[in-house]
Amino acid sequence: MSAQTVPQPTEAPQTMVEVENVRKVYRRDSQELVVLDGVSLRVPAGEFVALMGPSGSGKTTLLNLIAGIDRPTSGRVTVAGTDVTGLSESALARWRSRHVGFIFQFYNLIPVLSAVDNVELPLLLTSLSKKERRERALTALKVVGLADRAAHHPRQLSGGQEQRVAIARAIVGDPSVLVADEPTGDLDARSAHEILDLMATLNRDFHKTIVMVTHDPRAAERAHTQRHLEKGVLTA
């Protein structure tokens, strides 16, 4: 991925992600379930952070708040200089398309689309021409080492390859921050290692800020910083 085709932000803010005193409460009937309780977190630009913790500790909820796909009950989340908690639904959708690349545990590729079509999907929301979209999607596939599989459909790819296509889809729009929810959770050790290498490369060579949720201590070791959640509270 060259700087020409996928330009870097010229002025990256010092703090890419700032979570301030966030509470997230789910209500079911009369019961309240506090998932996050006064969480504050600061992620500098270019950082690679791993969020760890047991199941139900609120890792994924915190990640969803950072990615702008969920809203806190109270508190504030600022990403790339924008307070995402104050945005309307449609403004939030537009903001996500420009600033967030999401990597899912189960890849979540669209099965009827080829690898390159899957990668191109976020670019349908831009004003790029068909040719430009295709060029950028192929460049992103080249970055993840799958240029030769562009025409393959998800069912024709291994789990590791699918996840690499998903990473290409996440980076094709040159987002400010990459969020990854257990990106190696569904992969064998070798594939997991390759994916982590790729994410480290994106962080190191392309200066991508990455927030990754993981259970795996080996995966967490690849991050610069590890933060631990326990019962909705950041403990370390």
Partner: protein
């Protein structure tokens, strides 16, 4: 347009389900267009009627004739301009229509060439039909020849009849049959019309002298109907009541109505066609709406995660909703096009198949066709069904939260 390939690829995902939904939609539109076209043709037939013409028939049924003595009495009713006998002959060409008829009771008829033919009192009848245009010399020749007849241009073209040609007709109505064989006719004139002024005039008809029928049959025949021209169309109801009041205490009571009501009543002898056809169309459309809505709901339910992914990537709820509605409407477009094509093909088949086309012509439906307005309406119905079927699942996708859809169902 850049989203169209995305929509099409999703439709190809489960092509059996897509194809069966499109086919169901096509059947619905096919029925809608075909039934609607029949109704449109019937409407056109009724619109060809004049408001200044009334029809007086036996109050019990068209099957019974009225006494000939009624004619002068009807003519004496205030507001009546002229009266003419008009009896449905119900004649068909004998199997051998050229040359002499084989004669006798046993001669066979060719029902596949059936067309409307009426015995009328020519002078008053044609005087009340300005839409029928016959060359004056031909009309005079017709009046002077008891065996003479005038035929509509379409009928003449169909049988390649020219002025002076002879042909035979035999009625299926027993009193109108004669022992010596079919009635022989001579074409004395061709009926044309001004399509600009009278676009719906049927030229697939034949008229001959009532006197020839009465004398030829050798029986004391009555009048099938009396055709009555009135001076003021605004007085149609009052004149009708006055005519019927004349015969209120007689054996053969009458029923007088406008030509349009008479034609509608004639068609409705086969039942309330409009209600029947509309009910069928509505029932089928509603069923297909449920089928398509079910298909779309299943398709959307299967794609919960994909919808969540689209929203995560930055597609707005409105865009996701638009994609689902577009998918459903694409089903509507495909089904609509297929249904209209099928309907067009069926109507073409009906109007060109010997026997069926003649039966339609006998009912005055020789102009049956899928009119552009009907095709457009059918296409509109298909689009609406697609939209309505896709709207609820699309609305659910619009409202759904990403985090809820990312969780396993």
């Amino acid at each position: 347009m850049k989203f169209l390939p995305f929509v099409v690829k999703h439709l190809r995902r489960n092509w059996v389900r897509t194809a069966s939904t499109v086919l169901a939609m096509a059947v619905c539109i096919f029925l809608f267009c075909t039934l609607r076209s029949v109704l449109t043709a019937i409407d056109a037939l009724l619109e060809a009627s004049s408001a200044s013409r009334l029809a007086t028939r036996h109050a019990v049924s068209l099957v019974f004739n009225l006494p000939l003595a009624y004619g002068p009495r009807i003519a004496s009713v205030p507001g009546v301009k002229r009266v003419a006998v008009n009896s449905w002959f119900g004649g068909s060409l004998p199997a051998k229509k050229e040359g002499k008829a084989e004669g006798g009771e046993g001669s066979t008829t060719d029902w596949s060439n059936f067309f409307p033919n009426m015995a009328v009192e020519a002078e008053p009848f044609f005087a009340m039909y300005p839409e029928y245009q016959v060359a004056p010399d031909q009309f005079q020749a017709f009046l002077q020849d008891l065996q003479g007849c005038v035929v509509g241009r379409k009928l003449a073209d169909r049988f390649n009849w020219k002025v002076g040609d002879h042909f035979f007709l035999e009625s299926f109505i027993p009193p109108y049959r004669k022992r010596s064989g079919p009635f022989e006719f001579v074409v004395r004139g061709i009926i044309d019309t001004d399509r600009g002024k009278y676009p719906n005039t049927d030229l697939n008809v034949m008229y001959f002298h009532y006197k020839y029928l009465r004398e030829g049959s050798g029986r004391p025949l009555g009048a099938g109907t009396y055709w009555v021209e009135i001076e003021d169309p605004g007085q149609a109801a009052a004149v009708s009541r006055a005519i019927d009041a004349l015969f209120e205490n007689s054996d053969a009571q009458t029923r007088t109505e406008t030509e349009q009501a008479f034609a509608a009543g004639f068609i409705s002898m086969a039942g309330n066609l409009a209600l029947l056809l509309n009910t069928i169309a509505m029932a089928v459309s509603f069923t297909i709406l449920l089928v398509t809505a079910n298909t779309m709901s299943m398709a959307v339910r299967e794609r919960r995660t994909e919808i969540a992914v689209l929203k995560t990537l930055g597609f707005s709820s409105g865009q996701v909703m638009g994609l689902i509605v577009a998918e459903a409407m694409t089903l509507g477009v495909l089904g609509g096009a297929l249904g209209i094509g099928g309907s067009k093909a069926l109507v073409w088949l009906l109007t060109t198949t010997p026997g069926i086309k003649d039966m339609l012509a006998g009912l005055g439906l020789s102009e049956l066709d899928i009119q552009p307005a009907v095709a457009a309406m059918g296409f509109g119905v298909a689009l609406f069904l697609g939209f309505a079927a896709g709207f609820v699942p699309a609305w659910n996708a619009y409202r759904a939260r990403i985090t809820a859809m990312l969780r396993p169902a």
